[in-house]
């Protein structure tokens, strides 16, 4: 019983790191992804080409590899001191998820009928007003399903951080294999993921319901 409690507390601590990585990744990559999507739709060809290249590279390689490159790359290539473990992982995650989110945003923005922009234009609105007052909420409504999928994947992807020894929840559980020969704490981590993703699913469904009042 005592071990169970200890394990739970240990795992909770690891899960704290998991949540921190999850939350910070979202905070940075949700807006950055929107900016990336503007870049990739830019009429300035060099910018959109560069953005599309970055998205292609990031989506075409494993996140695990990207974490390793961000952590070890600066030292190996430039002889720099490099980053601490957590910031390195965070940068890799933000970069990776911004690219995925940007593609979702782009799909959402491009699916809004041209007539919505034109209606705003003939009513004398500025481009910014048209985007924020007319288009954005319609985009959000359309992208909630793919976004929730991606965000739930993010929860599970945080476990990749342990490749450079960031003590997230799976790492905390693995410690028990080495130190006490216990494997069940590792299985137990699954409950944490399940419960958290359950909460997220409910939240997303709530948001979807909230936007149900209009069609478009």
């Amino acid at each position: 019983m005592e071990t169970f409690l200890n394990v739970t507390l240990d795992l909770l601590q690891g899960f704290g790191t998991t949540l921190k990585l999850f939350g910070l990744t979202l905070v940075f990559s949700l807006p950055l992804g929107l900016i990336f999507s503007f870049f990739s739709m830019s009429k300035f060809k060099p910018l959109s080409a560069a953005m599309k290249l970055l998205i292609w590279v990031i989506r075409g390689t494993p996140l695990m590899l990207q974490i390793i490159v961000v952590f070890y790359g600066p030292g190996l290539i430039f002889g720099w001191n490099g980053l601490d473990r957590f910031p390195a992982v965070l940068i890799a995650f933000v970069l990776n998820y911004s690219c995925y989110f940007s593609e979702i945003y782009r799909g959402g923005i491009e699916s809004i009928p041209k007539g919505q922009y034109e209606a705003g234009q003939v009513l004398g609105m500025t481009k910014t007003q048209i985007f924020f007052k007319i288009v954005l909420l319609q985009v959000i409504k359309r992208i909630i399903p793919p976004m929730s999928n991606e965000i739930i994947t993010l929860v599970k992807d945080t476990s990749l951080a342990r490749i450079i020894a960031v003590y997230e929840i799976i790492w905390s559980a693995q410690v028990y294999i080495k130190s006490a020969g216990l494997i069940w704490p590792l299985f137990y981590t699954g409950a944490f993921y399940l419960i958290f993703n359950g909460i997220l699913t409910v939240v997303f469904r709530k948001i979807e319901k909230k936007l149900d009042y209009f069609k478009g």
Partner: protein
């Protein structure tokens, strides 16, 4: 002085010449109908007036003020802010309404005047309510577009365009996307606007409506004004072969 004077408008998309040489003028309070078969350039003409497209050549003058001159190429480089003020001389009602789905009827009408700072919130709301009453939708003021019929949506779109008080209100086939039984209510609203001093350009396939409401009619064919005149002249005594053929085709469809 004419409210609107359009001179020698030309517009091509790539190699296709869509508007070849369009000139006409309009007096205050007049209703102009534009008829013609699909592909003749009617929508493109309205879009040029509203600066959704830029004419390659020609001038657009409103109330004696030159708004656009395609020839000197300068107008095409108009700053965005400049285009926006010039656009406000015109209003445009689209074939498929293009209401903002996330806002209710009142908010759809109030949005632009609010964003453009056309008076304080209260005055804007009052004016919006008046317009809603004018298009006969006072009982739908809090409804969302998805809860309205096509005809009701188009009436909201008309009120939305009127809220900015344009000098010239353009309609692009306002009833073409509607079920036949709903066209009447929209045409009735457009007709009711004629009593005011609003100047209107209506692209339409409703010949009866055009005949009854218009002061002038333009028949367009292949990017030119094939025939121009009063309803009596156009319908009673069509001159060109194209016009005659078009009329007999439209009559067949009724």
């Amino acid at each position: 002085m004419s409210v609107l004077e359009v001179r020698n408008i030309k517009k091509s998309f790539g190699k296709t010449e869509v508007l070849k040489d369009i000139s006409f003028s309009l007096e205050k309070g007049e209703v102009l109908s534009i008829i013609g078969s699909s592909g003749s350039g009617k929508t493109t003409l309205l879009r040029c007036l509203n600066f959704l497209e830029y004419a390659d050549e020609g001038t657009i003058t409103v109330n004696g003020k030159l708004l656009y001159d395609g020839k000197d190429g300068k107008s095409k480089r108009m700053k965005e802010a400049e285009i926006r003020t010039k656009r406000l001389h015109f209003g445009l009602v689209f074939q498929n309404f293009n209401l903002f789905p996330q806002y209710n009827v009142l908010k759809n009408i109030m949005l632009a005047p609010t964003l453009l700072n056309h008076g304080d919130e209260k005055a804007i709301e009052e004016n919006a309510k008046k317009l809603i009453e004018r298009v006969g939708l006072s009982d739908k003021i809090n409804n969302y577009p998805c809860e309205l019929s096509g005809g009701q949506q188009q009436r909201v779109a008309i009120a939305r365009a009127l809220a900015l008080n344009p000098d010239i209100l353009c309609f692009d086939e306002p009833t073409s996307a509607l079920d036949p039984e709903l066209t009447g209510e929209v045409l009735k609203v457009i007709k009711s606007l004629k009593t005011g001093d609003s100047t209107m350009i209506v692209v339409t396939h409703e010949m009866g409506f055009a005949r009854e409401v218009s002061d002038k009619i333009i028949f367009m064919a292949d990017g030119i004004i094939e025939e121009f005149g009063t309803p009596e002249e156009i319908f009673g005594n069509p001159k060109s072969e194209k016009m005659k053929a078009f009329l007999s085709r439209s009559l067949e469809n009724i």
